[in-house]
C-alpha cells in the first residue's frame, strides 16, 4: 500500500464530483419535505433521470440537453407520485416505494440499447489563467457547469425558503396544512409543484452519475444514492446549507474509499464498498437525537374535508 500515490489536490477536487448527484437529489427532496410531503421515490426518479439524460445526450450529442431531459424525465415521473398522493390520497410511504420499484424497471427497459456506449463529454468551464492558481485552481475552478449549478441551486433554495414569500408559504404548508388551507393557500397545488421540483432535481442528480461520474449506462447504476440523499435531508435537519456540508462529507468518504481501493489497501474491496452505507447508518444514529425539527405535517395526507 502506498498512500502517497493519492494526490491530495486531485483527491479534494474529486469531492465535488462525488457530492454533486447527492446535492441535487437532496436539495430537491428537502424542498418536497418542507412542504410536508415525504417522497421515498428519489432513487427511482434518479435512475430515470440517469437514463433520460444519457439517452438524450447520446442521441443529440449535447450533454447539456441531456441534463435538461433528465430534469423533465424526473419531473414527469414525480407527477405519478403527485397524482397518487395528492389526488388519490394514497399513503406516501407506499407510493414512494412504488415509484422506486417502477423507476428501476422502467429505466432498465429504456436503457436496453444504451449499454456499453460512451456518452459525449461535458467539458470543464474555462476559467482561463485563474485555473493555474496553485491548489485553489484545481480544487475549485476545474469543474463542469453542473457542479457550480448545484452550488447555486442550494444557495437559491436557502434564500427563497428564508427570505421570500414563496418560501414562507411553502413552510406554512409543510408545518400545518390545515392552517395553510384555512388561510386560503392551495395546499395540493403547492405540494404538486414542490414534488415536480424535487423530481427534476433528482433527475439531474441521476444524469450526473450516468453522464459524468461513471460515464456509461448500467442497470440500477444509482445503487442507493437516492436513499443516501434521503438520509442527507435528515442529516441536514431540513436546512439547505447543511445539505452542502453533508454532501461534501459524504462525497469525501466515497472518494476516499475509491482512492483506497485504487492504491490497494489490504481491506477487501467489498468492505470498502459497503462503508458509505454503514457510515450513513452511523450518521443517522448520531443525529437522530435532535431530529425533532421535521416539518409538522411531514408524511400526512391532506384532504380538505377531513
Amino acid at each position: 500500500m502506498d498512500l502517497s500515490a493519492i494526490n491530495p489536490v486531485l483527491f479534494i477536487a474529486g469531492f465535488f464530483v462525488a457530492a454533486t448527484p447527492l446535492i441535487f437529489a437532496a436539495i430537491g427532496e428537502l424542498v418536497v419535505e418542507r412542504t410536508g410531503v415525504l417522497n421515498l421515490g428519489v432513487e427511482g426518479m434518479m435512475i430515470v433521470g440517469a437514463i433520460c439524460g444519457f439517452a438524450t445526450a447520446v442521441e443529440t450529442g449535447s450533454p447539456l440537453l441531456g441534463f435538461a431531459a433528465a430534469a423533465v424525465g424526473g419531473a414527469a415521473l414525480s407527477l405519478l407520485f403527485a397524482f397518487l398522493t395528492q389526488v388519490m390520497l394514497a399513503n406516501q410511504v407506499a407510493s414512494g416505494l412504488a415509484l422506486t420499484l417502477f423507476g428501476l424497471g422502467f429505466s432498465a427497459l429504456l436503457g436496453q440499447s444504451y449499454v456499453g456506449i460512451k456518452p459525449p463529454r461535458l467539458g470543464d468551464i474555462d476559467f482561463g489563467p485563474l485555473r493555474e492558481i496553485p491548489v485553489i485552481g484545481p480544487i475549485l475552478l476545474s469543474h463542469d457547469l453542473i457542479v457550480y449549478l448545484g452550488l447555486a441551486l442550494v444557495i437559491a433554495v436557502w434564500a427563497v425558503l428564508k427570505y421570500s414569500r414563496i418560501g414562507l408559504v411553502l413552510r406554512a404548508v409543510g408545518e400545518n396544512h390545515d392552517a395553510a388551507h384555512a388561510l386560503g393557500f392551495k395546499v395540493k397545488r403547492i405540494r404538486t409543484l414542490a414534488i415536480m421540483f424535487g423530481g427534476a432535481c433528482a433527475g439531474v442528480g441521476g444524469a450526473y452519475i450516468s453522464l459524468i461520474r461513471v460515464p456509461q449506462w448500467t442497470e440500477g447504476m444509482t445503487a442507493g444514492v437516492g436513499w443516501i440523499a434521503l438520509a442527507l435531508v435528515v442529516f441536514a435537519s431540513w436546512k439547505p446549507l447543511r445539505v452542502l456540508l453533508g454532501a461534501y462529507l459524504f462525497g469525501g468518504l466515497v472518494q476516499l474509499q475509491l482512492n483506497l481501493q485504487g492504491v490497494g489497501v489490504a481491506i477487501p474491496v467489498e468492505y470498502l464498498a459497503m462503508s458509505p452505507y454503514v457510515i450513513t447508518i452511523i450518521v443517522l444514529v448520531v443525529l437522530s437525537r435532535d431530529n425533532n425539527r421535521a416539518p409538522g405535517s411531514l408524511g400526512r395526507t391532506f384532504h380538505a374535508s377531513s
Binding site: L40, L89, W227
Partner: protein, 360 residues
C-alpha cells in the same frame, strides 16, 4: 365538479375490488406498453397469464409457481405485520441475503459429513441470520429513534457487498476452478432442500410459507399482539392508552419479518438456487412489498397475491423467450400493479360525489 367525501366506514367492497381493478388496469396499460415495444398486446398478456397455468407446457410451469411464490409469500407475511402497525421494513432483501448466507454457511461448515440434523440446523441459522439483520434497524429505532426505512434499506447494500465477499472468499467452492460461488448444496444430500413430492415443486419453503399464512392469520385474528398491531396502525394514540408498548412492537414486527425473510433466503439457496453466488438474490425482498400491499396486508390475500406475482415472473420468462419481451418489462408491469392498487384504494375510504363538496 367532482368532490371526494370521506366514508364513515371503509368500504368492504372496494377493499376487495381494488386489487382486482388494479390487475385489470395493469393488464390494459401493460398491453399498451407491450404494443409500444412492438409486441402484440393480446398475445403478450395471454402468454404471461395463460401459458404457465393452462398452456402446452403447463405441467412444467405449475411447479415453478410454488417455487417462485413461496419466498414472496413468506417475506410478505412478515412485512405485512409491520406495515399494518406503521413500521416500515424495506430491507427484506438484505435479510433474505443474510438468511441465505448464515444457513448456507452452517451447511457448508459440515461438508462432507452426512446427518439428518444438518438441514434443521441450517433452517435455524437462516432464520437467525435474517432476524439479526432486522434487529439492527429495530434496536436503532428503539434506542435512538433512527428511521427504520433508511437503515433497513442501507443494510440491503451492505448485505449485497457481504454476499459478494462471501462468494469470492470464505464460502467459495475450493473445487470450483477459481469461479466465484459456493459448492452446490443440491449435490450435498444433508443440506439439500429438495422436492418433497417429486415433480410438484413442493419443498420445505412452500410448507413454511403455508405455515406462515396460518400463523399470520391466527396472530391477527386471535392474539393480543395482533390486536396491538392493528390498533397501533389505525389509532396510535388509542394504542398507547390501551397499554401497547411501542418499542416491543417494533422489535417484534421487524424481528418476525427478518426471520421469515431469512428463512426464505435459506430455503432458496439450499433448494432452487443451490449455491451462494454474487447475484443469487433476485429482488424477492422488494417484490414482496408489492405482494403485501396487493394482498391487502391480509394473510389470505397475500397468499393469492404471491401466486399472482409468481405467475407474472414465470409468464414473463416465457414471454421473454418466446416473444423476445425484455425482462425489465415485467418489472415495470409489477410496479404498475402497485401504482394502480394505491390509486384504486381511494375508493375504499372515499366516495365520489358530483357537485361541490359541502362545507364541513
Amino acid at each position: 365538479m367532482i368532490a371526494l367525501v370521506k366514508r364513515a366506514e371503509p368500504s368492504r367492497f372496494f377493499s376487495l375490488a381494488a386489487p382486482v381493478l388494479a390487475v385489470v388496469a395493469t393488464m390494459v396499460f401493460g398491453g399498451i406498453l407491450f404494443a409500444f415495444l412492438g409486441k402484440d398486446p393480446l398475445t403478450a398478456i395471454g402468454t404471461i397469464f395463460w401459458e404457465p397455468l393452462f398452456g402446452e407446457f403447463a405441467f412444467f410451469y405449475r411447479p415453478q409457481l410454488l417455487i417462485k411464490g413461496a419466498p414472496l409469500v413468506l417475506i410478505a407475511i412478515g412485512l405485512s405485520l409491520g406495515f399494518k402497525a406503521g413500521i416500515w421494513n424495506i430491507g427484506a432483501e438484505g435479510q433474505y441475503i443474510m438468511g441465505a448466507l448464515f444457513g448456507a454457511g452452517v451447511g457448508l461448515a459440515f461438508y462432507p459429513m452426512e446427518s439428518v440434523f444438518i438441514f434443521p440446523l441450517m433452517v435455524l441459522a437462516g432464520a437467525f441470520g435474517g432476524w439479526v439483520w432486522a434487529m439492527i434497524p429495530a434496536v436503532l429505532k428503539v434506542k435512538f429513534g433512527t428511521n427504520e426505512i433508511l437503515v433497513s434499506l442501507m443494510l440491503v447494500y451492505v448485505a449485497e457487498q457481504f454476499l459478494a465477499s462471501m462468494s469470492l472468499g470464505l464460502l467459495k467452492n475450493p473445487e470450483g476452478f477459481g469461479f466465484p460461488g459456493s459448492r452446490n448444496l443440491q449435490q450435498y444430500a444433508s443440506a439439500h432442500n429438495g422436492e418433497l413430492i417429486a415433480g410438484s415443486g413442493m419443498h420445505w419453503g412452500v410448507v413454511a410459507a403455508l405455515i406462515a399464512v396460518i400463523f399470520g392469520y391466527v396472530l391477527l385474528a386471535r392474539h393480543r399482539l395482533g390486536f396491538a398491531i392493528r390498533v397501533t396502525g389505525e389509532a396510535p394514540r388509542a394504542a398507547k392508552f390501551s397499554g401497547v408498548n411501542p418499542s416491543r412492537l417494533v422489535l417484534f414486527c421487524l424481528g418476525i419479518s427478518g426471520l421469515l425473510a431469512g428463512l426464505a433466503g435459506l430455503f432458496e439457496v439450499s433448494g432452487p438456487a443451490g449455491q451462494v453466488t454474487i447475484e443469487f438474490n433476485v429482488g424477492y425482498g422488494f417484490t414482496a412489498i408489492i405482494v403485501a400491499f396487493l394482498g391487502r396486508l391480509h394473510p389470505v390475500g397475500i397468499l393469492l397475491a404471491g401466486g399472482l406475482m409468481a405467475l407474472t415472473y414465470i409468464g414473463g420468462d416465457i414471454a421473454e423467450s418466446k416473444l423476445g419481451l425484455p425482462a425489465a418489462a415485467i418489472q415495470v408491469f409489477q410496479g404498475m400493479l402497485l401504482f394502480f392498487l394505491l390509486a384504486f384504494d381511494l375508493f375504499t375510504n372515499y366516495r365520489l360525489r358530483l357537485g361541490r363538496a359541502e362545507v364541513a
